[in-house]
Symmetry: C2
Subunit: 382 residues, 2 copies
């Protein structure tokens, strides 16, 4: 199902372009997407609270412009539940702890629910110990790392979130997919300035950027992906042909060993510390892909950290200096007067304001999938 808008213009061809664009995506109000998403999570058996939380986490990706990690993944989560890889009513447990640490077993729950539980635990630990660090096993994909890291901000804490993911990335000097895009998010509170929020895959480009190019039938820049034998590639579909993504840095000469190290650190903190699966054994997101053999741990792993800023200096001093840091960097001399220097989190915050007010564009293929999954449960998107 899709709607379209015809606008007449003086410019030949523009009518066709607008029709084409209208066919590509619809813009839906946040509320409408949220109500539908909530009802789907309820339909698979989540509690009211868990369905509301999972909805908030999932759609924070759409609001912040990280479309690959938002509602586009909803049907994927449902398929994982159908394949009995996701437990809609998990009993999450703290299996080990010290004053500043814990390991959580997510009982195969939605990462969208397990991750906020674990991040809250990190925040609670930080209250007493100054910092809190929680490694999680037996979880699933947790949406965007930035959501969880940002939970710390209201408590005047620095938040850190990372997760491993199924293997798409080849280490430097390798042709084998050994690591996920393993993102890192760090959220740092400021005073009058908006917070610093970095949230990035440890690859040159995220999988979401590949998907955008696939839809456009466009190639990638050199340095994003390689063929199955390690040859340079610009094919956005190369992952379906045995290729792999490249670590941040692209090649050895430009520091890909650093991106490989970062992705590895995320994998080890998330999974070797907690007892989740790691490296090439991380469970795949598509439910139709068989689970790896001889998995060395349970499910996906995450790692969360919270640090009270006043465990180091007074919160007021810290925030004043963050304001000074942010202001100084924002005013760094730009390469070109039209392109100001950005603070990590700036583009996502602007996008969030825009989309909360004006709606979220959802591509038609995703709308079709949402409608199909809705029909299963007698639920309608529109």
């Amino acid at each position: 199902m899709f709607f379209y808008t015809v606008i007449n213009t003086h410019i030949p061809g523009q009518k066709i372009i607008l029709l084409y664009l209208a066919r590509m995506a619809q813009t839906l109000p946040y509320r409408q997407l949220a109500d539908f998403t909530y009802s789907i999570f309820k339909a698979i058996g989540c509690s009211d609270a868990d369905a509301a939380l999972a909805t908030r986490v999932l759609l924070s990706a759409d609001l912040r412009g990280i479309d690959s990690h938002g509602v586009a993944r909803l049907t994927g989560y449902v398929r994982l539940w159908e394949a009995k890889r996701v437990n809609a009513t998990p009993e999450m447990k703290i299996v080990h702890e010290m004053p500043s640490t814990a390991v959580v077993d997510g009982d195969a729950g939605l990462g969208l629910v397990v991750a906020p539980f674990a991040m809250q635990l990190a925040i609670d630990k930080a209250r007493n110990a100054g910092t809190g660090w929680v490694s999680v096993r037996n979880s699933n994909h947790f949406g965007i790392a930035g959501y969880h890291a940002m939970m710390a901000l209201d408590h005047d804490m620095i938040g850190i979130a990372m997760t491993n993911a199924s293997a798409l990335v080849a280490p430097t000097f390798s042709t084998e997919r050994m690591l996920g895009t393993n993102p890192i998010a760090v959220a740092i509170p400021a005073g009058t300035q908006p917070p610093f929020v970095a949230d990035f895959a440890t690859t040159t480009a995220s999988n979401g950027k590949l998907e955008i190019l696939q839809r456009k039938n466009a190639g990638t820049p050199l340095g994003w992906v390689q063929e199955g034998d390690g040859t340079d590639s610009t094919d956005a579909n190369i992952l379906k042909k045995g290729g792999s993504m490249l670590p941040l840095g692209s090649d050895r000469e430009h520091g890909s060993h650093k991106g490989y190290a970062l992705g590895s650190i995320v994998d080890i903190f998330s999974a070797v510390l907690s007892g989740a699966s790691y490296g090439p054994w991380v469970p795949p997101f598509p439910a139709y892909v068989p689970m790896p053999e001889n998995m060395p741990g349970k499910g996906l792993g995450h790692f969360f950290g919270a640090m009270r800023v006043d465990a180091f200096r007074t919160a007021d001093e810290f925030k004043d200096h963050m304001d000074n840091w942010i202001t100084r960097f924002r005013n760094a001399k730009p390469t070109n007067e039209l392109n100001k220097v950005l603070i990590p989190g700036d583009p996502e915050r602007e996008m969030e304001a825009e989309r909360m007010a004006g709606g979220i564009p959802v591509v038609d293929s995703v709308i079709d999938e949402l409608n199909a999954v809705g029909q299963k449960f007698g639920l309608a998107l529109n």
Copy 2:
């Protein structure tokens, strides 16, 4: 002073090449360099213990093949002491703490001495709280980050070390030097396998790599540096002409905003948390460069972390899985059968064994500097 060796060969020109190489560097035994370095630190007023520690930390860079951060910097430290920017007898103080955190004021001491003090405090905190996190102000350059991170390994802890440094790096979309090469080191213990030790600048290439190209009169690959106006450059001397280094990722299309974010996180954790100077206000290493005006904090900043692995799961379980992780990654399919996949820390460990046994090559310009500084104090290198 330099020596040379003449070897006759059948190949025309080879004699000249060998003479040239002999003129470029001498290979000195570790013990000889260490004795000289110790005597210099004693000569500027360090205690026996501090001189021995500073020597060990400084020369760990030469042993591990990071020549730019080792004995080549000894005369730079002496000049900072002469300029009264380094205090040889610091009274380091814990100015604030919680069970898992502390801020240390380094009293303008050598970073080579302040950093191990702070890292030891992080380890001590971790013993009781599970983790320890120490931010440091009023310090100086601390040698290689990896040395400090590796202090955790003997305690079955993960070690983390980072530092800010004087500004050479332009943020994405900027032409202004705002960040140092701000390295991150993470050391992770294993069982029968050697530990995982990542230690890298958050730039495409380290300043040390630029220096090697300068000595060879060679250009850099594209993506390492830019001209003062932001134009692409391959000039290894561009920093002397108003240019800047580029964050890991090189350009926006290849993820330089991620390298910029990483360098920023290092700066904020090291300096905004502790009360050190940050961004473009970090004190320069060369003593002849005037201090920045309106510095917002005291000296350089560092950040250290220690995490007991058994604060998450038993140390034996953790180390068994690290062995499995390392073995699996080392056996990842290589791009080329001659070039195996490396684990972070492999090249440095091999270099250390080689140089401890066979000596450390020191380029003649550094030998000349060491002899000159030795003469000041009546000390001889040879």
